[in-house]
């Protein structure tokens, strides 16, 4: 019996990936760099600006690459960064 070929895959045209919105509480940050180093998608970078304590907080340089993995939230010792899921409308 022949295998039926399909022209299009089932479901979505491209794979669905979660997306996250990044929230940075700048004045809590102590510039440790953990989130920058360990973000799996290199979304963050320490910014040039100073927060009120004189540290460089992170900034999202590639926010569109955030997949809401939550690693930055959990590894931040200052509770200064978190993400939440953005639901995309197809």
């Amino acid at each position: 019996m022949s295998v039926r070929q399909r022209k299009q895959p089932f479901g979505n045209t491209k794979p669905r990936v979660t997306r996250g919105e990044i929230v940075i509480i700048e004045d809590r940050c102590k510039g440790c760099g953990f989130c920058v180093e360990y973000c799996p998608n290199d979304v963050l970078k320490l910014s040039e600006k100073y927060n009120s304590k004189g540290y460089h907080p992170p900034a999202a340089v590639h926010p569109e690459q955030c997949v809401n993995c939550g690693f930055c939230r959990m590894i931040c010792p200052e509770f200064a960064i978190y993400t939440y899921e953005i639901t995309e409308v197809d």
Binding site: I25, K30, G31, Y55, R73, M74, I75
Partner: protein, 298 residues
């Protein structure tokens, strides 16, 4: 401004963007944030994972009691929004024993540092583990007495340079999983501050496990241990953990020694079963005394 209006630091800061609050805010005493720990210190990470672990265990925060001793990690009790007790140096475990035995329905967690739990508190650790009191002990190991300026501790590896071992530590140091295993702990795990997911898993397992669970977490102490021993800052130390830790579940705790610059064995070493203190007490007294004895439930 009266003493009671004084806040110890800025209140919860308004986020840059975003409508929601930080998910930890229900768990923390926000009127005491920011906390006192140094930049790149690992203790904040362990608190994060602990909050996550409690959520996963579906334990109501009203039923959680956190007891800590004195030291940097000892300050954890002051930041978590549960019934929390900041007791004397080394005596968190007997205090927690009293809480647990008086009300066995509470989930009692001891959150303290290596100097507090192993040195001055060593005797109490030994006996609580022997008795298998139902406690979860989270020992944050930064290899020194950080709060008082960085003195050598029983966990400091050989050759560590610290304020009371200025020529390097020549004493033997404790291998905590080995110690915990020999004194009878039923669940023993070691992770580093970098292993956030596995640390959280270990905390969940420890919290759910009846009996004495011991979770050691190696955390950077940038201001003292890392600086004095040329490890850089906390981020450098996390990279060191990344390069040098080896996950070996079920490894023999005797082989889990930590040397100054060598490999670090992490994983869940022991997960065994033994009747808890209350179970043993109730069962035994029921047998011996008979009907006049009503099993103790709090």
């Amino acid at each position: 401004m009266s003493v009671n209006e004084e806040l110890t630091g800025a209140a919860s800061c308004t986020p840059v963007n975003g409508q929601q609050n930080h998910p930890m805010e229900n768990f923390l005493r926000m009127d005491r944030i920011p906390h006192i720990w140094c930049p790149t210190c690992g203790i904040g990470v362990t608190v994060n994972c602990f909050a996550q672990a409690l959520e996963r265990c579906s334990i109501s925060l009203d039923d959680v009691v956190v007891v800590s001793g004195i030291g940097c990690t000892g300050r954890v009790a002051g930041y978590v929004k549960v019934d929390s007790f900041h007791t004397t140096h080394g005596r968190a475990i007997p205090f927690a024993t009293g809480v647990k035995l008086a009300n066995p329905k509470l989930k009692v967690v001891v959150f303290s540092g290596d100097g507090d739990l192993i040195a001055i508190g060593g005797n109490h650790l030994m006996h609580a583990a022997r008795r298998n009191i139902d406690l979860t002990v989270i020992c944050v190991n930064n290899f020194n007495y950080a709060m008082t300026g960085g003195q050598v501790a029983p966990t400091s590896p050989k050759d560590s340079v610290l304020t009371t071992s200025p020529y390097g530590n020549f004493e033997g140091s404790f291998n905590l999983p080995h110690l915990a295993e020999s004194i009878g702990a039923v669940y023993i795990a070691r992770w580093t501050a970098l292993h956030i997911h596995r640390m959280t898993d270990a905390m969940v397992e420890g919290l759910n496990k009846p009996g004495f669970s011991f979770i050691e977490i190696l955390a950077p102490c940038p201001t003292i241990f890392e600086r004095r021993n040329k490890f850089g800052d906390g981020l450098d130390r996390l990279k060191f953990y990344y390069d040098n830790s080896e996950i070996k579940h079920g490894a023999d705790p005797r082989e889990a020694d930590v040397s100054l610059r060598g490999n670090i064995t992490v994983g869940t070493f022991v997960n065994r079963d033994r009747p808890t203190y209350m179970q043993a007490m109730n069962e035994h007294l029921q047998k011996r005394i008979g009907d006049s004895f009503t099993p103790y439930e709090g």
